[in-house]
Every structure is written in C-alpha cells, then in structure tokens.
Symmetry: C2
Subunit: 519 residues, 2 copies
Amino acid sequence: MSKQVKNAAGRFVPIEINGEKQVPYKGVGKYKPEGKKFAPKIPTNANFPTNGNKQVPTIKEALIKAGLKDGMTISSHHHFRNGDLIMNQVFDIAKEMGVKNLRWFPSASFPCHEHLIKYLEDGTIQRIEGSMNGPLGKFTSQGKMKGTAILRSHGGRYQAVQDGEVKIDIAIIAAGTADQFGNANGVTGASASGLLGFALADSQYADKVIVITDNMVPFPCVPWQIQGNFVDYTVKVDKAGNPDKIISGTTKITKSPDRLLLAEMTANFCEATGIIKNGFSFQTGAGGTSLAVSKYFGDIMREKNIKARFARGGSNEFLVKMLEEGLIEYILDGQTFDLEGVRSMRENPNHTWTSPFTSYNYHSKGNFAAMVDVVILGATEVDINFNGNVVTHSDGLLMHGIGGWQNCLFSKTVILPIPLFRNRIPVIVDEVTTIVGPGELIDVIVTERGIAINPLRKDLIEASKNSGLPIKTIQQLKEEAEKICGIAQKPDFTDEIIAAIKWVDGTVIDVVRKLKKKK
Amino acid sequence: MSKQVKNAAGRFVPIEINGEKQVPYKGVGKYKPEGKKFAPKIPTNANFPTNGNKQVPTIKEALIKAGLKDGMTISSHHHFRNGDLIMNQVFDIAKEMGVKNLRWFPSASFPCHEHLIKYLEDGTIQRIEGSMNGPLGKFTSQGKMKGTAILRSHGGRYQAVQDGEVKIDIAIIAAGTADQFGNANGVTGASASGLLGFALADSQYADKVIVITDNMVPFPCVPWQIQGNFVDYTVKVDKAGNPDKIISGTTKITKSPDRLLLAEMTANFCEATGIIKNGFSFQTGAGGTSLAVSKYFGDIMREKNIKARFARGGSNEFLVKMLEEGLIEYILDGQTFDLEGVRSMRENPNHTWTSPFTSYNYHSKGNFAAMVDVVILGATEVDINFNGNVVTHSDGLLMHGIGGWQNCLFSKTVILPIPLFRNRIPVIVDEVTTIVGPGELIDVIVTERGIAINPLRKDLIEASKNSGLPIKTIQQLKEEAEKICGIAQKPDFTDEIIAAIKWVDGTVIDVVRKLKKKK
C-alpha cells in the first residue's frame, strides 16, 4: 500500500493510487496547477470519409475499429441516468472479445449497471472511476473491486480529462439524435435525455469517440451538443436509452411532510435574509427536499413580485413552470431531471444548456457555479465544523456519487436542508465519515429543529437575528439529535482503501475504506 | 533568404519563413500531421475573481494586465469587417506604451485598418499574418512590411492555432453583447455583427483573452458564442464596432448584367446536371456573382418545388428569405454578410451558427465543408489546369484574403463563375500568378462565353451533354479570351518573398513576391 500523508482536511490519504501519483488536498484555492492541458493527437480530415459518413453497422464493429484492447479507459455519460442501455452492451462485447483490465470512466453509474459486477469480478473491468450509485458502490465498499475507485465531481471529471489526469481511449456517447458525421444532441428523438454536457470533455479529449443513437437524421443534426468534428464512428441502434428513467433516485420531489418542512424553512430563511431579491440566482440541485425548495421559492417570488435573473438546473417541472411564468429569466441547465425539463430545453432558447466546463471546471478562468447567489444541496452527514459528506452513509457504505455537489459549494451561499436524523441515526456528527466538502464553504444547515449558520457568515447571522426563525448553533443541533437517538456509532473500517475522493482541483480530499465484515 | 524547394504544386517555396520552419505543400490529403494539439497552460479559478467580474475600466488597462510586451502576437476577428473600431485603438495603445515588434494575427483586415501602416513602418507591428484586403495588401506587395505576411484560410487559421503553429499571446474579441465574466455574442446589442466564430480558436488557445463590448449585460449573456471560462478581462467601451459596415467589399449582390448572366448560367448548370434536387446543399460564398446565384437557385427551387436540406452561409437576405419560405431547412452560418443575416440568426434556431472549427478545420475528424453538394466561389484567376487564385490580381498585387475559399474546395462540386476577362485582362491563364487552390479540387468554370468542366469530373461532362449549355474546354475559353484581349502580361516580380500562402493543412502552397517598381 502507498505511503499516506495527512492532508489539509486532516485526513490520511495515499500519495499514490492505482500506480498514479496523487496530490493531497491543500485547502480551498491553495493548490495551483503548473502544467499544461492535455494535448490530443492532431487528426486530419484525410483519414476520414470525404462524404462525412462515419456510420458503422454495430457497436462491436465501432469498438473493434477504435482498437479496443486490454487496459484501455472507456468513458460514458449518465444523461440517461438509470435508463442507460448501452454500457452493459459495451462491456458484454469486451467480455466476448476477451478484453481485460479495462478502466470504466462514467460520469456516473446507476443500479441498471449491476450487470457489470460480474465483469468487475472476472477482470474484464479493473476499476470504475466515477460515481457509483447503489449496487456498484456496495460492491466497492466490500473491497471487491480490483482497483481503487476514484470519485470526482462533475467539474472535477472535466478537470481530470482536460488536465490529462485521465486519458480516455474510447468515449461512448449515447444520444437522442445524431447524424452520420457524429453531430449529436439529447433534446430531440424518442430517446431524448436533455443534453450531453457530461460527455463534452470525453468528445474533446478522447482518442476515439463513438456516437450511438436510435435517431439518425440526415446531416446536419441541429442542435449539435456534441460536435461531429470530434467523432470517429457513429452507430444506429434500436434504442439508445430509456428517457423515462431519467427520473430516478434523487430526482423526485419529496412528499414527506418533514422534508417539505425543511424546504419551507429553507425558503423562509432565504426570504428573511434578503437572498431572495430581484435579479438573484439560485440552484436547488437534485434530492427530494432540494427540489421542493424551488416550489417554495416560486411561492415567495410570486407573492413579492420578485424575478430571478437565472436558476441553475438540474431542471425539473417546477423550474420550467417558473421560467414560463416569467419568474426566472434563464435556466442554465446541466442535466434535465424530468421530461418537462427536456421539452423546455428543446423549445425555449432561455432554457440554455451548459456543460461541466462552463459551470463547474475549477481549472478554467472562473466558472458559473461561483456566480450563483444561493444553492440548496443535500448531504448524508454534516459535522460540527460544517464539513459535508455526500458519498457514504453513517454506516460507511459508499452509496452515492458527488455529482455537482462540490462544485456548487463555490456559490455565494450554500444551504443544506437535512433532517436531524435518519432511521434514528443522527446526521450531524462530530466528524463526517468522509469529507467531501470543507466546512468553510458550507454556510447554513437547516433541520426540522433549527437552523445553524456557519460562524464565518457573520452577515447571515446578523440578517437572520430578528427573523423569528429557530437559529441555533450546530453543537446545539447535534446535542438535540443525540438526546433522541444517542451518539452515532462509527462504521467499522479496515485499513484498506477502496475509493479516493477528489476535490475540484484534482487533489485527494479523503478516502473511503473497506468495511469490516459483520460478525 | 531561406533555401527554397519546389512543392507538389510546382512552386518554389522557402523552408523557413520569419525564422520558423515550414512544410512545403505535398498535395491534397498527402501531408499527415504527427504531433499533438497545442496545450494551453492550465488556469485555475483560484486566480480569478470569485464573483466572476473580470471587468477592467479601459482597453489599455486590460492590455497592461495581459502583459503586453515586445514581440507578442495579438489576434483579432473580422466579424465587423470594415466596421472594426477596436484594433486601431489597440495598436495606438501599443505605440503609446512603446511596445515594438508585434505580430498582428487578424482573421482578416480591411481598408479601415490603413491607420496601421504607420505602425508597420515604425516597427510597432513587425508583420501581419492574416488576410489583407486593400491598402495593407498593397503596402505588403510593395515589400514594405518588415516580416513576411502569412495568409491562411479560415480553416487554416483555426488549424494553425490548434496545432500550435501560431501561439497567440493576447486575443482581442469585440462583441455585440457580453457579461462581465466574458460570455459574449454577436447576435444581440447595437453592435451585433452576427457571430464570433472567427475568434473561437483565439478564445480557446490564447494565453490571455480580452472581450470588449458596448453592451455589458448582467450574467448570463445568452447565447454565449464565446465562453467566459476562457476569458481573462472584459472591457466596456462606447462602441464595439460598426455593424453597418459588415456589408462591405465582397458582400453586395451584383447589378452587372454580365455577372447576373454568369449567375444564371451557374444555376442552370446545377439544374441541368441534377445537382439541384430535394435534400441537396449549397454554399454561395461572398462576391457579387456568387450571391446572385442563391437568388437563381431560389427561383429554380420554387418552380420545381425542391427543398434544400441546408445552405451554408455567409448568410444574406436571399438565403434568409429562402429559409423563412421553407426552401431551405437550415442555414449553417459562419459569417453574416448583412443585417438580415444577423436578425435571422438571432431569431431563428434553424439559422445555426458554425465556426471555422466545425466547418473548415482540416485537422479534425472531418468537417462540414466536405458535406456540401455544391459551392459557388469567385476567383481572380484560373489556369488551364483549373488551379485557382484569389489573393493576387494578374498585376501581381496582393489585394485579397483567402477567406473560406480553400476550405470550400472540399465540397462535392466546386463551381467558379468568372468573367472571361476583367479590364481587358484575361482571367483564364496558362498559369495562375499565385496558386491558392489546386485544380484537382475545382470542377467547373462558368464564363459568359462558355462553361468548362474539369476532365476529372466525367460524371458532370456526361450529365451536361444534352443540356444545351455552352460546354467548352478550358483551353477553348482561354483562346477566346486571348483573341479579344491578347495574352495576359505576367507581373514583374523581384525575388523577394513578401507573403506565403498556406494550404488548409498548414503547408506552404505558394508565395507572393515583391513587385518591381514601375519605371
């Protein structure tokens, strides 16, 4: 096992993972990259069909032409979320071809990819670098993956590809519509998933790029969210993905009265502290509670005749309604969370697509996330120093991806509406199981029994003083939870590292260790 | 002077220009690049304002912050064409600061830049690499520029930047609308020039990027044709450009009955040979005759109820009308040639913006130009081997840029409607003064006295056999012209090379030499 050092978050992290050198987390804005962006090989039109037709008959043929072989890195995007139909096929083909030791580099994986566990077991896939929601996360937590998983935020994934930390050999891009040249989008066709931004870095930097669609239109496919000039092969299949399943996991608005209360308190806090004002901007992320916040924001804005300059998606029916009502001037969207989002993006030029490059890449000349006035996010745990965790549960299981969560922490005000406890396990703890976001970037914790404001945000403490809202310290909230549930038991880890958590700048902020087997 | 070698076009070209090694032209599709794309330094958000506001008070302050100093390369785009108001100011500032020896790398320069001749004389500017229309071209032809000019096509300019042949230190991007973060577009605002595609490579690869606008809107500037994530500084000025002057030089439809005849013959040829058919595509370029062709195409299409899948811009009122009428499904536009083009691009999602990357870059995985069925272009000269010239006149003066001309030669059929003579000087000659495009890519020459088809295009010769059109050989056309005007006199050049003409792949296809002084 590699040597470990204590990073600026106080966590011990290895200086080498999967045989590659790592930089330990140095603090927010402290690590300054000195290198150059990854430089792909210069292609030439002379090596591509003069009529622009890059279509090959099958995914298998595309993979063979792309030179699929042992040890390669295969990337994919997750705009279909749990409705992805392609990646299981891709690895079935790899298995059939006897290819081994692949690195899968998805922007996220979902329960639909449980099929791949057998390939992780038999060595077809050596490791996954990307969010693992559900069964693959559990498999990894049990120490069963051959390599070490690496989890990155959406922006961190773009950064890693741009900076050459992850070199993609073959990028797979499933698209609602494409032309034979490779121009592709996610807004039209029967398998429209909204947009294709998560595949942007892949298209720009991968050695070979394969676009797969069930709706092959004559050139030009307009709009092109992926540019065919980056694409090597195109394939037509019967079904590129199942868009009905983009509503999955974390994208349904909550019906729980407790969670609705959290959402309402959050909105009230934003109203009381003057965050909701003409020309403001907000992002409410995924997660049932966060989604409900946009509904309450709408109520306040209607009542007070307030208009937002923009809202950041993940878009959903509530945001779309607000856009169409004129409460929001623009939706800047990175991911549609329901089919109303897809429709609106297709029809409304003010429902604008963004990408992890524009929104979240920390290694660029600024990004959009920093310009959002208030962002509402979820968390599995928060600690008394306001550090946040979104990847592991208090039981230590790696069950969620980072998504855009880390990137959104750069917003002007970050609010986490979270229940004080889940299944009688306190959510506010002394120390989070996994540090995914540093406390200095997390401003407000809203629970059903009170709101804690980060002491760094004196302005918010002042602004909320006479609001009548139940402002408490985070210690008070923790103690209240512990009075009811007792102190949370720490998960029982071995020393073995099963996953590394990257910060937005590519440094290692924490690791996840293998769980001890229950006796 | 550098050693010279004979290239595959039969021209003697130097192996070094301005101290930089050159690859002589090797033939169409023969040169295969082996290197990697240019890798810019990795930036970090940590070095940029957290609120996204990159605005500085003046152009001068932006240039100082960007580190303007001797020997740098300053780039600019020409979407305002003869209405550019910024670059003269930029070099006034450079002069005032005592900076010397700059390379100006515009996508094109126009008569409005005559102001810069004094800086070429006093050494503020060492050389121009970019199209020089008018006075700057004449100045160069007289051998007065200190360095050697390099002319590239629009695609070749993207290629040169992408491949690191030209490293831009400071990119200047004048925009109709921008936000303080640097997102910018050319479709809105009082100084809307259409789009900003010519500045795309500059934004992506330059070390420092400055966006200048007279319409600074709150974030987000939608649409963003230039992404603020690439931008270092933004500046608000009183006037960013004069959009009335985008109609200049080559963008007015001809009123000459001779030219209208050429346009009509061209359209008739396309009709007779079956090029105009349902789902076809065309590009009519700039130049009065070419523009008139789109009008005649429209007449034929209306009459025969034919619809085009797409037309490539430069857009103009005729194309826009055809789009709105439903004769064309999409305009894929790289440059608006009049204000109707700007309006349509702003309002109509099927009037789609392209860039030199998508349309013309030869060092990518294909490009759009190759997928166009027929392209109508101009030329100053054509020779009996169908080689074309667009940069020099028969008098040897360097007076025009290449524009997208070379890139468009990759279209399926290339037609040049040209008068048999201009000012009693034959246009069809034994050997063009400057080879800008190789004859193997030029298919048809339409003159008022007959149409010559490249012998390589047996299909077109066959298809036009019984058309009743005056099909002749190119030799016949040349002889007819010479009977009337006599043989064209060759320009009287010295040995001194004043400009190099790059092919689409960065190789040197020809050079322009200094003219002897007239006695």
